[in-house]
């Protein structure tokens, strides 16, 4: 069946390449993430919250 629907010789290689590229992206992202210090993480995570100028609005709801 596979042959009849149109099968390219050796195309499975695309799947393997794709998975390897993803593995690369994932590992780089993981390393990158782990190199960040706790303070940096906290600082970044708090970016949306440190909105001093919005103080008055904050309290209302």
């Amino acid at each position: 069946m596979g042959k009849m629907i149109g099968y390219v010789e050796g195309a499975d290689v695309y799947l393997i390449i794709a998975l390897l590229i993803f593995l690369g992206v994932f590992i780089i992202a993981a390393i990158y993430m782990n190199l960040m210090s706790k303070e940096q993480i906290t600082e970044l995570a708090n970016l949306p919250l440190d909105n001093t100028n919005n103080e008055t609005n904050e309290k209302q709801n």
């Binding site: 149109g6 390219v8 695309y14 960040m36 970044l44 970016l47 949306p48 919250l49 100028n53 209302q60």
Partner: protein, 716 residues
């Protein structure tokens, strides 16, 4: 250092909020209308402009690009200014963006009911509107990057990463999928044909879900969830991993819309594997959002806004678990083409996009109007109506989907199809369709209450069009020590890098899938007996596109016994090489039509039957929910553009002989006359050859004819 003072532009946020609410209600109203047509077609009130095939694209476009689109811009304009501690880059660009987008939607509202459509799902708008979309999208990006470059905050919070990835990916998807050659201002043919067109279309279609309905909303979730809960996101590290994995994996998953089709196997496998891997980042993101509420769950009880967020995220979790399951080949074999898929997308659209949008509206409006919500009770009522609406929508549709999937495949002990008449399976699910329309009505009612409540809220307050703010200017980094210490923080501060890397991440998937599919000859096996459409058939095909028949009928027989017995030989990629665009469809509200012209197929009907059926489907198929098309019988076709159409098709590679366009009209007349004569002589039906029905019949009889295995001579 001195703090600088500046203003946030709340007016543009308010404008997008109003547009979100209005288009949302309109889009849902259209949704309830077409839902009603699916248990009684009379709800189209015999008007061609609101017939199902024309109205469904309006519904999907309105929900995706008008409701969700405006919601994205509302949320982005609100959060971006505050995260970057600056006003939007240019008020002028904001205004152009706002009005440009509304005009595009208006153009959709006018052209789609008129039947001006490219037929490509979620990209139906014709080429001039496509160009306008691209331009306005660039204005949005320009304004966003301008704002980012003039920021006072060094770091780019993860929400902005999602916005940037959204911008660049949507631009890429839209431009590539819209490649087409125009015939005139209102008509164009896709540059791609058949299986390649399908691949590009679903690479686009799937990633419209990913990068229009998901990534921008994840960005909004990462901003508004912490704001509403008043605590930082559960894990910022997780959000980084979430971002890169999600954008990288999503782009590959498109082919899961084409399982068991004539798309090459390797591409289907890629789609399956990446879809399954997508569970990880999707659930990572959902948990990250929900866990942000750790220690604040008591507030969820009293704060309806947080309830919307929690149920919205839960729906996201359900839809992103279900998606990969649907991508498994054995599940897909049953679920594809059925109402199950419709249930699936609505859990995502009503649950995730809808509920988050409502929460954000309830957050923003009282703040920019410096007041409180007019009625907290009404917010609660809205929450329950929306939640019940989703349940009443989804549960019947799942049930309907299973029913269709199983009935289509069921054989008797003697090896015959248990339900050889497709109509039986349709009649079985009508009660489910009624319940679904009820669910939709509940959801719409909730939205109307919200509009009223927001309106009242705005009336009690006053818009703070320019909200005063202050912040320290951004310090320029000195080269040297700072950079060494923070070398690995580079991307948080470099929007351009982020843009480039996101683009690379999303481009890889497209390139790996497209290049072989387009270059390797053997991917599309040509079939010598398959010939281009005759002029009359081509015109008939354009009528099929105009009426949006592809919104109910597929043209792709999958290689299962249940389908080959019902419809005939399964579809091969070589059959569609002249199909600009492909018309495979994605849903079988009616039977597959790929073999409608193949006399060996059980689905084959003669011209007389088609005439009666198109005039009044219930006359041939009692209880059918297919709309009637009396105007095809009453009106003459406008074939004045046939010359141009043939020329464009030839430019796209369809092998019409040289100068064929000169005699196209003549050929068209000849073929039409043959059909008209057949109807008169054999069936006693008097139809002038100029009528549109004649062209449509010619087209239906072309479908699958070229691979006719039983050479029965029939005169149309």
């Amino acid at each position: 250092m001195q703090k600088e003072t500046f203003n946030y532009d709340n007016k543009i946020v308010r404008n997008f909020a109003v547009a979100t609410a209005i288009w949302g209600v309109i889009g849902m109203l259209v949704g309830v209308t077409i839902a009603s047509q699916l248990f009684d077609p009379l709800y189209n009130f015999s008007s061609r402009y609101i017939s199902f095939g024309r109205l469904r694209p309006l519904h999907t476009n309105a929900m995706i690009f008008a409701f969700v689109g405006n919601a994205i811009f509302m949320g982005v304009y609100y959060s971006l200014q505050r995260l970057m501690k600056t006003r939007m880059f240019s008020d002028k660009l904001s205004t152009i963006h706002f009005w440009g987008w509304q005009l595009i939607i208006l153009a959709a509202v006018i052209t789609l009911p008129l039947g001006l459509t490219s037929s490509k799902e979620y990209a139906e708008l014709e080429w001039p509107i496509d160009i306008a979309i691209a331009l306005i999208w660039v204005v949005f990006g320009w304004n966003m990057f301008g704002t980012i470059y003039q920021r006072r905050e060094k770091h780019l919070y993860v929400a902005i990463w999602f916005y940037i990835a959204t911008f660049i990916t949507v631009a890429m998807l839209h431009i590539v999928n819209s490649f087409a050659l125009p015939v005139d201002l209102f008509k164009s043919y896709s540059a791609f044909a058949g299986v390649q067109d399908a691949l590009v279309q679903w690479w686009y279609g799937h990633n419209a879900v990913a990068f229009f309905l998901t990534t921008p909303f994840l960005g909004l979730m990462y901003y508004f969830m912490p704001k509403m809960a008043n605590r930082p996101v559960y894990s910022y590290k997780l959000s980084i991993l979430h971002f890169w994995s999600l954008i990288f994996l999503y782009i590959w998953a498109g082919p899961h819309h084409l399982l068991y089709s004539s798309l090459p196997d390797w591409a289907q496998t890629l789609g399956v594997v990446f879809s399954i891997m997508l569970i990880a980042p999707s659930w990572g993101g959902m948990l990250n959002g929900l866990l942000t509420l750790r220690g604040a769950w008591d507030r969820v009880r009293d704060d309806a806004m947080l309830k919307f967020m929690v149920v919205g995220l839960t729906c996201y979790g359900m839809a992103t678990f279900e998606g990969p399951m649907l991508a498994l080949k054995n599940v897909n074999a049953i679920a594809h083409f059925t109402d199950w898929i419709v249930a699936h997308v609505h859990v995502g659209a009503l649950g995730w996009n809808g509920l988050l949008t409502f929460a954000i509206l309830y957050y923003i409006i009282p703040r920019i109007y410096e007041t409180k919500m007019y009625s907290k009770k009404a917010v609660n009522v809205h929450f329950w109506l929306a939640t019940l609406g989703i349940l009443f929508y989804a549960i019947p549709m799942y049930f309907s989907g299973f029913t269709q999937g199983l009935m289509w495949k069921e054989f008797t002990v003697d090896g015959m199809l248990k339900y050889p008449n497709f109509l039986e399976t349709t009649l079985q699910i009508l009660p489910m369709h009624m319940l679904r329309a009820f669910g939709g009505t509940l959801y719409l009612t909730g939205a109307c209450i919200m509009v009223w409540n927001l309106w009242k809220t705005a009336r009690t307050g006053k818009l703070v069009a320019n909200e005063a703010a202050e912040a320290y200017p951004m310090v320029k980094e000195v080269k040297g020590e700072v950079q060494v210490a923070y070398w690995h923080r580079w991307i948080e501060k470099r929007p351009t890098q982020l843009l480039i890397f996101s683009f690379i991440a999303v481009a890889i998937g497209g390139v790996v899938e497209f290049v072989p599919a387009f270059l390797v000859e053997s991917n599309v096996k040509t079939i010598p007996s398959v010939t281009p459409y005759s002029p009359l058939e081509l015109e008939g095909r354009d009528i099929y596109i105009r009426e949006g028949c592809n919104n109910c009928h597929s043209q792709q027989v999958r290689p299962f016994r249940s389908e080959t017995v019902r419809y005939g030989e399964y579809s091969k990629s070589g059959e569609n090489v002249y199909d600009h665009p492909h018309l495979w469809g994605s849903k079988r509200t009616g039977p597959d039509l790929a073999r409608a012209g193949n006399t060996a197929s059980k689905i084959y009907k003669d011209a007389g039957w088609h005439y009666q059926h198109m005039k009044d489907p219930r006359s041939t198929s009692e209880g059918s929910i297919m709309p009637a098309y009396p105007w095809l019988i009453a009106e003459d076709g406008d074939y004045s553009k046939i010359e141009g159409k043939i020329t464009v098709m030839r430019k796209l590679g369809v092998p019409y002989v040289e100068n064929y366009e000169m005699i196209a009209q003549e050929d068209l007349d000849k073929q039409a006359e043959k059909i008209s004569n057949f109807l008169l002589k054999e069936k006693g039906i008097k139809v002038a050859k100029e009528k549109e029905i004649v062209a449509l019949i010619a087209y239906l009889h072309k479908l699958g004819r070229d691979i006719n295995t039983k050479e029965v001579a029939t005169s149309e």
